[in-house]
Structures are given as structure tokens and as C-alpha cells.
Symmetry: C2
Subunit: 198 residues, 2 copies
Amino acid sequence: MYNFTPPVTRLIEELRKIPGIGRKSAQRIAFYLLRSGKQDAVNLANAIIDAANNTFFCSQCYNITAVEPCEICIADREKTKICVVEEPFNIYSIEKTNLYKGMYHVLHGHLSPIRGIGPDELKIPGLIKRMEKGEVEEVIIAVSPTTEGNATAHYLSDILRKFKVKISRFALGLPIGADLDYVDSVTIARALEGRTEL
Amino acid sequence: MYNFTPPVTRLIEELRKIPGIGRKSAQRIAFYLLRSGKQDAVNLANAIIDAANNTFFCSQCYNITAVEPCEICIADREKTKICVVEEPFNIYSIEKTNLYKGMYHVLHGHLSPIRGIGPDELKIPGLIKRMEKGEVEEVIIAVSPTTEGNATAHYLSDILRKFKVKISRFALGLPIGADLDYVDSVTIARALEGRTEL
């Protein structure tokens, strides 16, 4: 059976390890990178090495950063609020709204007993340590409204209760621009329960 | 406006250059690679560098190869047939059928006046040179049945006619497992025209 030349096969195998990239996508990416010129390939490899060597987790919020502490932890922001997110790129989505001026804490995942991810696999001990300093007044839990996200939110609100701070979670409801016909009934139920007075 | 730390931003920009990878996918891939450990990132970068440094186009068929001539050109195959494909990974798809034992020729694209890709941007001169040796008896044009693929096929059949060889093209018709209800009418028309007697 014909196979690609070994360096290409190895490249395809490495690309396939990335979640969301299947065999066909990996092939297309590999051959795109190996077109004549190859400058894109070299640039990409250098960017990967540079990012791998020069970034690390912020010791306070566990965001990915090239400086310690990270740009957000060191900025002049409201130290009394912590927004808990699952992944570093969630910070970017929230910052885009320009509405939140507090701190962040990145869990790096969510609780998932089925995949063996418990509280100790997440950055929850680091969050507890921040809470113990007593500066925080509100924790906003911004995990995804999925089964695993809900479990994570409940676990967090349980263990944070002893700090006597306000604990909130992102509102559930209709996304902007949604067509009611196409919104699932659980979302509609939540939108109804959380209706706001006009 | 908050942005990712510079090495991460650069990595995301490099990933976005890959066709089919948008902003969100690039972010997810970048953060996947920069999780704790980073071994996947280093392996991927090394695989890219290795493939970029150790592969080149076969001087005969323009397949991507690590040896000259490539594994297929050097193998004991029917030298009288050349199958013309657009991309190196098309060879893999055809080899999987185990039905074709001839040679290949990779064009590295298709004619596309709108993007400024004419015959000289493709590996057509190399194909002409192979034809001039007089060994070839059949050219099978295996480009995609798209507008640009069709233009490429017509151009090729025109310039190859003077070599007085058999020129064929992959059959058009229903894909296996297709539901007639969901097949477009051009495909149905081609399937009807090319119907085979039972």
C-alpha cells in the first residue's frame, strides 16, 4: 500500500493529534506547508517553538503569558472581582465586551469524572489560595453551560461558599439574533425563568 | 483592547495562514499546543522543519518525495500510463483503490485565470517533456470535476492531442451510496449520458 514519504507521514501524524483535525485536514495542511517555497512552514515551526519556549502560566491566574505576572494581573483593574473561565482564550472573548474590569482565573478545563479530571487536575487550589487573601468580594463563574460546565460551577460554588463572597454565574437565555423556532426548549425554559422586567 | 501575549498572537497569525483554519480554530490549536508539557508543540515544530528540509518535488512526476526519483517513479509500474492529478495527496486516494499501476504527474493546482494561474504556473511543461520521450500510450486526466478542473482537463487534452495517445478522464456519475433525491441535476445528467449496459 502506497504511503506518503516518511517525513510527510510523520508531519501528518503530528497534525492529527490536534483536536478537531482529522486525516483529510492533516493531509491538506501538510501539503499546503510543503508547497514550493516552504516559507510558511518555517515561519509556523518558528512561531510554535517561540511560543512554546517563551510562554508559561501566570502564577496568579494561570493565563498563558510571556511576562510574570500576566498583563491582566499587573494592570490597574478591580482586584475584588474574579471571573473564573475554563480556557485562556475565554478571557479574550470576555475582554472583547469591554464590560468587565476585574481579574480572571483560568481553570484549564472542567470537571469530567469520565475522563478522570477532578478538582486537583484543574487550577482550583490556586483559586482557593487567592480567596484566602480575603480581598475578593465577588466570584463570577463563566464556565460553559454544558453538563460538565454545570458540574464545575456547582462544585466551585460549594467550596467557595465558606468565603462569604458573592458568587454569580453568567445568565442563561436567548443568544442575540436567535430565532425562537430554532432555540432548544431548555434554553427557552431558562430564558423564561430569568425574564427581566421592562 | 486585550490581546494574547505576543508569542501567542504570532502563532495564531501563522496558523491562520493555513487554508481552512479561521480565527477560532487557530486560537484553539495555539492554546492546545501551549498546554502544560508542550511536548506536542515541540514534536509538531520538529516534524514541520524535518518535512520542510527533507522533502522536495520528484524531478519526474512532481510528487512530494524524500528520495529522487520518488518511490512511485522508481517502482516497477506500467510506464506507458500517466495519471494527471492536481495535488500530491490525490495520488494517495487513487493508490488506495489498488486498481491503478501506472505512473503519475502532479500539476500542483488547476488553471484559474481569476487567480492568475496559467499553464506555466502548473507543472505542465514537465508533462510535455515526459510525453516527448514517446513511451506513454495513455494519459488519464484525474482532475476534479469542477469548473476550473474542467478547464484544466480541456486544456490538457488539447495540448496532448499531437502526441497521438489515448486521453481519458475519470467517469462522471453517481457516487456510491448516493440518494438520488440529494444528487444535483448536472451529476444525474452525466450519469444518464454515461449509463452502462447490464
